[in-house]
C-alpha cells in the first residue's frame, strides 16, 4: 500500500474531518461517498485546504431502480495530480441539490444542464432556463423513464422502412418465409 501513500493521506484527512465513506480506487483516484448536505463543505474543504482547485467534471446518473439520482463531483489537484470523486445520492422525486457555482463558476453550466436534462433543481442558480433544448414539453429527457424512440416515432416523420429499428435478420426471415438458421438466432436482439 506504500505506493498509494499520497492517495491514502488525502482520504484519511477527509475521513477525519467529515463523516463519509470512501476508498482509494487506483493510482490517482480517490472515491468518497457522502450525504448530499455535506457535499458543498467537502468541496470547499478540498478546494481551500487540500489544493484541489480544478473542477474537472460533474456527472449525474439516474438509478431508477433505487429511485435515486447519483451526482458525482470530480475535482483535481494540479500539484499532486490526484483526482477525488465525491459521490452523493438524492431522491428522484422533486430532486434538489445544493448550488455550488459560488465555489466554481463553471459549475453553473453543469447545473443548467442537469436542471434541463434530469429536472434537478438548484436553488439560487441564476441562468437562463433553456440551455440545450428548446421549447421542451415532455419529462426531462435524460431520465431513464423517458423513451427516446417512442418520442421520435410520435413526433418526427419517418421514411418507410425505417419505422422502427427492425432487426435485419427478422425482416429477411419474414420476407423469405424461412426459419432463421441457428447460428443467426444467437446474434438476434435480446
Amino acid at each position: 500500500m506504500s505506493k498509494l501513500k499520497k492517495e491514502n493521506k488525502v482520504l484519511d484527512k477527509l475521513k477525519s474531518v467529515f463523516n463519509l465513506s470512501g476508498e482509494v480506487k487506483r493510482k490517482q483516484r480517490i472515491a468518497v461517498k457522502s450525504d448530499s448536505k455535506h457535499v458543498s463543505s467537502i468541496l470547499l474543504f478540498l478546494k481551500n485546504q487540500q489544493g484541489f482547485i480544478h473542477l474537472n467534471h460533474i456527472s449525474c446518473v439516474d438509478w431508477i431502480e433505487e429511485n435515486e439520482f447519483e451526482l458525482v463531483y470530480i475535482v483535481w489537484n494540479p500539484k499532486t495530480k490526484l483526482t477525488v470523486l465525491v459521490h452523493t445520492r438524492i431522491a428522484r422525486e422533486n430532486p434538489v441539490m445544493e448550488n455550488i457555482d459560488t465555489i466554481w463558476d463553471q459549475a453553473n453550466t453543469y447545473e443548467r444542464e442537469f436542471r434541463e436534462m434530469f429536472g434537478i433543481e438548484f436553488p439560487g442558480l441564476v441562468a437562463p432556463k433553456e440551455f440545450i433544448l428548446e421549447d421542451w414539453d415532455d419529462i426531462p429527457p435524460m431520465r431513464k423513464d423517458f423513451n427516446s424512440q417512442a418520442y421520435a416515432l410520435e413526433n418526427f416523420a419517418t421514411r418507410p422502412g425505417r419505422e422502427d429499428a427492425q432487426d435485419v435478420r427478422e425482416v429477411i426471415q419474414k420476407r423469405s418465409g424461412e426459419e432463421l438458421p441457428d447460428f443467426a438466432k444467437k446474434y438476434s436482439r435480446d
Partner: protein
C-alpha cells in the same frame, strides 16, 4: 431561334443575334412576356447558374467537416464554380450537412426562406435521408424532405469530398435541364410543409406569410 439545341458557350455573334431577337418581345422593364421566349431565357440563365453556385456558410451538422477539405487545394471545388457566401441573401445553394436537431431546423427554415430564387438544397449523409444512426433520437428529425424541399441527397456517413463534388455535379445537371430549384414548389405546397414544420417546432413565432 425557336429552340436552343445544345448548351455550349454562346459566341458573341449569337448573343448579339439573341439580343436583337428578344428585343421586341421584352417590355421596357426587361421582362419577357411570351412563354417561348421565357423558356429560352431560362435556358441561358440556367447555363449561367450552374457554373456559379454560391453556398451559404452554415455548417448545420457534422458533415461540415468535409466542406473545408472540398473547398481547399486538393479537391478544389471552386473549379466547378462552387464557393462560399456569407449570407443567405447572396447564396444559391444550401447544404444540410447531416442531421438536423429541432432547434437548428427552425433556423434552417428561416435561412432557407430568406434565400432568393432560384435556390437549391443539397442534403448530406444518411442521417438527413432517414435518420441514420440517430433514428431514435428525440432531438433530430428523420426525413428532411418533409420539412424542406431537397434537390440532391448525398449518401454516406460521412460523404467523402469526391461524393460531395459528385452531388454538386448532379445538381448542375439538374439545373441545366431545368429540373432543380424547389423554391416555387415550396411556395405552392407551403401549407403541407408548414403543417410538418409546426409539428416539430413547438413555439412557432414565424411570420404567417412567406413573403420575404
Amino acid at each position: 431561334m425557336s429552340e436552343i439545341k445544345s448548351i455550349g458557350i454562346p459566341t458573341p455573334e449569337e448573343i448579339k443575334q439573341a439580343q436583337i431577337d428578344f428585343a421586341p418581345r421584352c417590355t421596357s422593364a426587361g421582362r419577357v412576356n411570351d412563354k417561348e421566349t421565357q423558356g429560352m431565357v431560362e435556358h441561358i440563365l440556367n447555363f449561367a447558374r450552374k457554373h456559379s453556385l454560391f453556398v451559404v456558410a452554415y455548417g448545420t451538422g457534422c458533415g461540415a467537416i468535409e466542406i473545408p477539405a472540398t473547398m481547399t487545394s486538393r479537391y478544389d471545388a471552386e473549379r466547378f464554380g462552387i464557393r462560399g457566401a456569407a449570407t443567405p441573401r447572396q447564396a444559391d445553394v444550401m447544404l444540410i450537412t447531416g442531421y438536423l436537431s429541432t432547434k437548428t431546423l427552425k433556423r434552417v427554415i428561416r435561412v432557407y426562406e430568406q434565400m432568393q430564387d432560384p435556390k437549391y438544397v443539397i442534403a448530406f449523409g444518411s442521417c438527413a435521408i432517414n435518420g441514420g444512426m440517430y433514428f431514435d433520437s428525440y432531438n433530430t428529425i428523420n426525413a428532411l424532405d418533409r420539412y424542406l424541399p431537397v434537390d440532391v441527397y448525398i449518401s454516406g456517413c460521412m460523404p467523402r469530398p469526391e461524393s460531395v463534388i459528385k452531388g454538386f455535379v448532379k445538381l448542375q445537371e439538374l439545373i441545366k435541364n431545368g429540373n432543380a430549384g424547389n423554391g416555387e414548389a415550396y411556395r405552392s405546397d407551403l401549407d403541407w410543409y408548414r403543417k410538418n414544420q409546426q409539428k416539430v417546432i413547438k413555439n412557432w413565432d414565424f411570420p404567417d406569410n412567406y413573403n420575404w
